[in-house]
């Protein structure tokens, strides 16, 4: 079976003017970058995500994560490279196919929720279905079901403005799930939430994922979150993937200094926890004897 997401040699360069970019001439690109005329937000990124896999992209602020995830839906137009999602060649689609693709194949969940403030919760959840032209009864019944799933029954008629951050993101998740797309794209969905709620939402996502088995592309800058959720993770720096692997692999064997610094706190935490545990074990065995 083919991969759910196949990305090869993806580049995104932001530029001020419209001049032709010397894409094959790396030195010239570097010069332009140094002079501040262009920003290379994503460079030479290639990866595959298998169906049902949770693929986490991690990196510091400005490393290009949001740009990358937006390229997958062509909310940001890639400068170069190819993106294939569920055998749809996203990069070569015309506007009409692209619109259809966005309605059908992949839904996005945003850090700042992106809800419509003038629409009720249920209308927000049903938004994608409305765009598809589905009748009111059908979209409301589906939306209601989804609101139950994310634990928001009874909030249908409220407006997003009166909801807490956590609840807003639940609306965002319900909106993404209601069309039942095979792929979910999540751009730091829990970053704006306070730690307790974030934890709760992560756990719920894990639980949901067990039953729905989506392909999830998850962006975060929080290593803990990446480790809990990810089947595999990629570490991104200055637009590039510097390491891709299972979370344990990345932790055990960082590819370079950047990754090492990224994971060192986590490593220490784990070592501390291990020590603590072995100490306790020792005490326990001593007490028993």
């Amino acid at each position: 079976m083919s991969s759910a997401i196949e990305v090869s040699d993806l580049w995104k360069i932001y530029q001020n003017g419209k001049q032709q970019l010397p894409l094959d001439d790396v030195e010239k690109l570097e010069q332009l970058k140094e002079s501040g005329e262009i920003v290379i937000a994503v460079r030479e990124v290639s990866f595959n995500v298998e169906p049902g896999e949770v693929f986490v992209v991690m990196g510091l602020s400005g490393s290009g994560k949001s740009t990358l995830i937006r390229c997958l839906l062509r909310l940001v137009e890639p400068t170069r490279g190819s993106i294939i999602i569920n055998e749809n060649d996203v990069t070569s689609m015309n506007q009409k196919d692209l619109t259809f693709f966005r309605r059908q194949e992949a839904s996005m969940i945003f850090q700042h929720y992106g809800l419509l403030p003038h629409r009720t919760v249920i209308d927000n959840v049903a938004f994608g279905l409305k765009l598809k032209g589905i009748s009111k009864e059908e979209r409301y019944s589906k939306a209601r079901e989804m609101l139950d799933t994310v634990g928001l029954q009874g909030w249908e008629e409220y407006y997003p403005g009166s909801l807490s951050g956590g609840m807003r993101q639940r609306v965002g998740i319900a909106r993404a799930l209601v069309a039942d797309p095979p792929v979910l794209l999540m751009d730091e969905p829990f970053s704006g939430l306070d730690p307790l709620i974030r934890r709760e939402m992560q756990d719920e996502l894990v639980k949901l994922q067990q039953s729905m088995n989506k392909t999830i592309f998850f962006v975060t800058h929080d290593l803990d979150e990446g480790m809990t959720l990810g089947d595999r993770m990629a570490v991104m720096k200055d637009g590039k993937f510097v390491q891709v692997g299972k979370p344990e692999e990345v932790l055990a064997d960082p590819a370079d200094d950047y990754v090492a610094r990224f994971v060192q706190d986590k490593k220490k935490q784990i070592e501390m926890a291990d020590k603590e545990r072995s100490k306790k074990d020792e005490e326990l065995s001593r007490n028993v004897s």
Binding site: L75, T99, F100, Y113, L116, P117, L131, K132, G161
Partner: protein, 283 residues
């Protein structure tokens, strides 16, 4: 002294040119004229036919809808009574009819153009300088083209008012659309909105408070212009003011002036309150 031999009058040429235009496009000017006149007459006769107390009751209901405050309702309902007491009720209705006609036309033209400006940058690049130039011109100037093409009377009065009062609603429609948060637009696109759906489902509703602020401004500009347009025969309260000025009848001018102010306050409160009702809800 400026040398007399240098004088050169283009007045005649302009008159000839306008006459030529009027002859050549007679169908257009006549059509436009009769459409405007029809609309105005219908609105005016409707306003005249409605008993005064029903109009005041309507104002009160409207005020309640937009403010939910007894004080506001009372003030806005009592103020127009003074216009009646001054004996200026029919003239006020005449003025109101012109304002309503002009505003209807201004909105029909202004809102779509505002939308086009926001959707297509080249259109904005053409129209914005024109609007800026219009803003710097004194309102008197707008009487000239209306006078040129339609002579004296109510129709040129309405059209001068339309030209003067359309820019704010264009501007604020465009501004409101440009101010829609990019997160919301992005989300709408991500869920597969077409350009039209994006406009209809997200951009226009979110721009509504701004558009309605534009409607408010346009209405207020129309009121200001209607008073001035009495100089070319628009009639109404403005004409009363004009006569009083000519005859140095301060008392009569005062009554008419106060009536204009009352009209302004009522219209302003109602349209502004209406705009507030469209702020995104928080509950």
């Amino acid at each position: 002294m400026f040398p007399e031999t240098w004088q050169f009058n283009i007045a005649n040429h302009i008159n000839n040119f306008v006459n030529w235009l009027l002859d050549t496009f007679a169908v257009f000017f006549d059509g436009l004229s009769s459409v405007v006149l029809n609309l105005l007459m219908n609105i005016h006769s409707a306003l005249d036919a409605i008993p005064w107390w029903i109009i005041i009751l309507t104002i009160a209901l409207f005020a309640w809808f937009v403010s939910r405050s007894i004080v506001t309702v009372t003030i806005l309902a009592i103020l127009p009574v003074f216009i009646g007491l001054f004996g200026l009720w029919p003239l006020a209705m005449e003025t109101l009819a012109i304002i309503l006609t002009a505003v209807v036309i201004a909105l029909i033209i202004g809102i779509p153009i505002g939308v086009l400006m926001a959707e297509f940058k080249p259109i904005e690049a053409i129209i914005r300088p024109i609007l800026d130039a219009m803003q710097t011109m004194p309102s008197f100037v707008y009487l000239i083209p209306a006078l040129m093409f339609f002579g004296l009377g109510k129709v040129p009065g309405v059209l001068a008012t339309v030209i003067y009062s359309t820019p704010p609603v264009m501007r604020l429609t465009c501004l409101g659309l440009n101010q829609v948060p990019s997160e919301v637009e992005e989300a709408a696109l991500a869920y597969g909105a077409t350009r039209w759906q994006l406009l209809k489902e997200a951009r226009l509703p979110l721009a509504m408070p701004s558009i309605l602020a534009g409607v408010n401004q346009t209405t207020m500009m129309a009121l200001a212009m209607v008073v001035i347009a009495s100089m070319i025969g628009a009639g109404g309260l403005g004409y009363e003011v004009l006569i009083s000025i000519n005859r140095v009848n301060v008392g009569r001018g005062f009554e008419a002036g106060i009536s204009v102010v009352i009209l302004a306050i009522v219209i302003d409160r109602l349209t502004q309150g209406f705009a507030k009702r469209f702020e995104p809800p928080t509950t």
